[in-house]
Amino acid sequence: MTENIVIDTMVFILTLVDGSKLNDEEKKQRPLVLKYMDGLEKGDYLVHLPRISVTEICGVARWKGGEGPAIAVKNRLSQWVSMGLIKLYDLDEDRMWAASDLAIKHNRSKNSSLSAPDAVLIGLAEELNTNLITFEKYFLSVSPKAEIPA
């Protein structure tokens, strides 16, 4: 049976970076996220994403990998969307207010607020009542839907 999940941008990027290039903590996390990629391929997971996540993934790919690979990332994600493996969501008015409420209720830390993409991502997981796969520990205090792979 296909499980619906929302995935944080970081999870996607972790599948793109070889373990040898990662720091120690992320080296341990990488094998955990690869199962989501396998599951996506096998149809075990249907990934739900706010549209801004695609922009984030492309942006990080461009920043660290160059234009050619980043444009290829964009095309692959587009291919997955066309294949129905990823479902994208607009930031409509209801989602905007839900994300705004999250940003009002929660700070990321004492020194920083919840970012807009974070709030939109968490809001989507709550709206769809699905798990949000992330390695951001502060997400756990924001939403019960956040789940850190272990």
Binding site: V17, W63, E67, R76
Partner: protein, 321 residues
Amino acid sequence: MTMALARPLTYAVSAPIASPRKGKGKIPAEALRYFSEGVALGQLGKHQEELAAYDEALRHREDFPEAWYNRGVTLGQLAKHQEALAAFDEALRYREDFPEAWYNRGVTLGQLGKHQEALAAFDEALGYRKDYPEAWYNRGVALWELGKHQEALLAFDEALGYRKDYPEAWCNKGVALGLMGKHQEALAAFGRAYEFRDRLADGGANLYRLWALDSLAHALDGLLNQNIRAFEEGGLKYIDIFEKSQRDGPDFVGVVEDTLAQLKARLKKRKEQKAFEELEVFIRLMKIKDPFEGWKALGKEISKVWPKGHSVRKAVREMRR
């Protein structure tokens, strides 16, 4: 920046005439017999004997423009351009309203590098016969050679107005548009040429080369002008052309693959070379059809340049600032 990478296809001669025009004085039977014999020999590829037959026909009737004309065509096929030119001139001496002779006079002059005179000959041909796509096409080639690219484009369009299934004209239209930086339109024109590629003398090898080069130029222009859509469009079109070549045969695959090296050799500026490297990576990655294998290949490529020990979390957070 506009990439000007290609020259158009060149002048094209026309076939001999099978029978003389009627109603302009009776041609003696002997002359007609030799003329027909010449045509038949030409169809068998026996060009020396063909020439001898036309000479016999002309011995029986000197003012026989079609025999002079066919003699010229055959001499042209044998690359005897000066003699061919003299034969077309004889044909026109006896019959001025002979568009095919003017046309082939133009082709021959073009082959001799006399493009301005060739242009005048094509204009004469078109004066007698406006619906003459081959003359329009070759007029376009002459204009191109004279550096009048915009006018050449109009001439190719005229040719296509009279004959849609004209791959050389589509191809040269593509070259002209590409030179003007109108790559989207150029790629569409090459696409039309591809529909009729079976009619091209080389089976489409040159078309593949020109088409692939223009797709790469489109992509490179896109990246250099920060037009990502154009980069994608050009890169993906190159892959599409590559896949078509795979279906058409290994020779064509080689032609398409070679265009990458041809383009690379022309790039002198560091900025262009860097853009080309990005394009090569993109093409390599997008050639992989399986989306998951493609993602893994992407991972390998990004990992090559990802700074060692740089946190993914930090990168994403910086992106979200």
